[in-house]
Symmetry: C2
Subunit: 378 residues, 2 copies
Amino acid sequence: MSFKLIHRDKSTKARLGTIRTAHGEINTPIFMPVATQGSIKTISNRELDESGVEIVLGNAYHLYLRPGPDIIGKAGGLHKFMGWSRPILTDSGGYQVFSLAGLRKVKVEGVEFQSHIDGSKHTFTPEKVIEIQGVLGSDIMMPLDECVHYPASRDYVEKSLEITTGWACRSKNVFNEVRSTKDEGRLLFGIVQGSTYLDLRKEAIERLLKIGFDGYAIGGVSVGEPRGLMREITGRAASLLPEEKPRYLMGVGTPCDMLESIAMGIDMFDCVVPTRNGRNGQAFTWSGELQLRNSNFKEDLSPIDEKCGCYTCKTYARAYIRHLFNAGELLGLRLVSLHNLHFYVKLIEASRKAINEDKFAAFKQKFTEDYTISNVKH
Amino acid sequence: MSFKLIHRDKSTKARLGTIRTAHGEINTPIFMPVATQGSIKTISNRELDESGVEIVLGNAYHLYLRPGPDIIGKAGGLHKFMGWSRPILTDSGGYQVFSLAGLRKVKVEGVEFQSHIDGSKHTFTPEKVIEIQGVLGSDIMMPLDECVHYPASRDYVEKSLEITTGWACRSKNVFNEVRSTKDEGRLLFGIVQGSTYLDLRKEAIERLLKIGFDGYAIGGVSVGEPRGLMREITGRAASLLPEEKPRYLMGVGTPCDMLESIAMGIDMFDCVVPTRNGRNGQAFTWSGELQLRNSNFKEDLSPIDEKCGCYTCKTYARAYIRHLFNAGELLGLRLVSLHNLHFYVKLIEASRKAINEDKFAAFKQKFTEDYTISNVKH
């Protein structure tokens, strides 16, 4: 068993656990920053270490196209290529392939698509995607799936789910072969699709459980549906997933979304928000969000967040960071991205502590109040 | 005396010294990285410290326009604004103002110009430029001057020099007033202009010496003139400048240019090359320059420079850095800028050591051979 359930919060469905991988254990709940192309944008590995990041997320689609599995394979895998020795989860790239509207063709066998970089033609089958992730040396692999966008008709979702479930089964088969010849403690998760149809989500879970995976991800959320609906799907799916496996909510989310989801029993998150919004000048703090480009910060000599211990907050003032954005200095993108990553990690660490003390409900409520009262944009 | 001459190399005219400033001593020869807008592009203060950077260079023109002296003054000066506690030299912005062809008008009183940012009209007088640098809290100030571009007619240069010399005198007067009310150990340098006319350079030096400055800069070089001519001007000017004052060659240069100039008795350098070229994928190494975007690095798992101890070289391989540039990842710009800064600092540190051992001529020759033999582009 790679997942160990350590403690259940008495005030919510939140839980503490660990996942053992080929590159060490990670603690859950966990936030995984996104290194789509093998780099957390603007951030060095040392900064990830210092921020307490335990695992990063790569993307098989992007890395397959550039630099290509050959180059990463020759480097000895993605860990060595990017100089990162802790765990890596790789997304299959299903989301990316299915975002290429007009450029891709889905068949039962797999999906044909054209590269977003140079228009070259490629085919992803579930088998190929696992093989690519094998070359990358991912600690946690994700199978090829169709991430259905919102809204989608029931008919479309039913057909898509049929394909996705078949692909999940084939992914497991090829993963078993890889594992049988070389067991390096690698893990494969299943991905629950079904869009906003709760009965289809339930059916998806039942079929995935029959195949059997090391963990279960909830996909196809945070794709444009109302926040309430996202939370309903998350809660329902989490309640149907087995206690003894980790639950990963893909692509989520904002600080409040993460806490709500942890309360429903979600263990893992990934999201580009801390770095993408950071590059846009938006900072996350314990008392809400700040747009640092705003002119009200031009003479503000306080750090982004008085409560924060990150390098940015220990060294630079808001007025300086605003100036960097105003003057087009890349250091600004870097400093806010670093702060945001640090904030996300510390928020999750604080969540773990609250769970351990059976106080997660109160923690979540207090955080949400502090966060939203002064929030400019939430 | 702020400048202390510690040792003269027996094999060249190179010299070792220290300059005492309001924010501590710096060792000469020295390379000063350029923080035009108050930021060494993509690099954090911690990285500057770790690279051994002792002083950075800001620009009065840029900082006057954005964020403006008011904001920096309210922060307590540029050191506090940018979170940098070691010395800062500020260039007057003469070079920038005189680069605004068509947008500026020179009078004896000062120069009218339009902002390159929003077209707003401004006037710089020598007095105003010193006052701005006073607000910035610069350790070493530079007077307003006209940096004449190459080529320029003798007639033009003579008239320009007349204005520049008058401005130098007025700068000194206002600087004396500032210093008399509040002596914080700030220094003012004079700038030798005169384009490629050696007799005018000589005249400029004589007139500046009569005014008297804490150090002397050679300006108007590296503006398009042939390299041989630049070296001739540098050598001649250096030989005419007093032994007991530091000599600063503005805007220079490449590794080999710096070593040649040190051999002529130059003490200080600034240049955007390590960071600008770094953002372009060009790395400086002890065995020459590398363009890391080249496809021959795509499977190269060695660091940029085996001999380098910088964070980039200790952590990342050429193949990874090439991928970052190829994929448009900002981390690439950062990693090569950091490596280049580190290289420049270590090159100057090694130069100091060689001077101390009276072996600078041999050191320079060996470096230049190693550097140029394998050089792709030099």
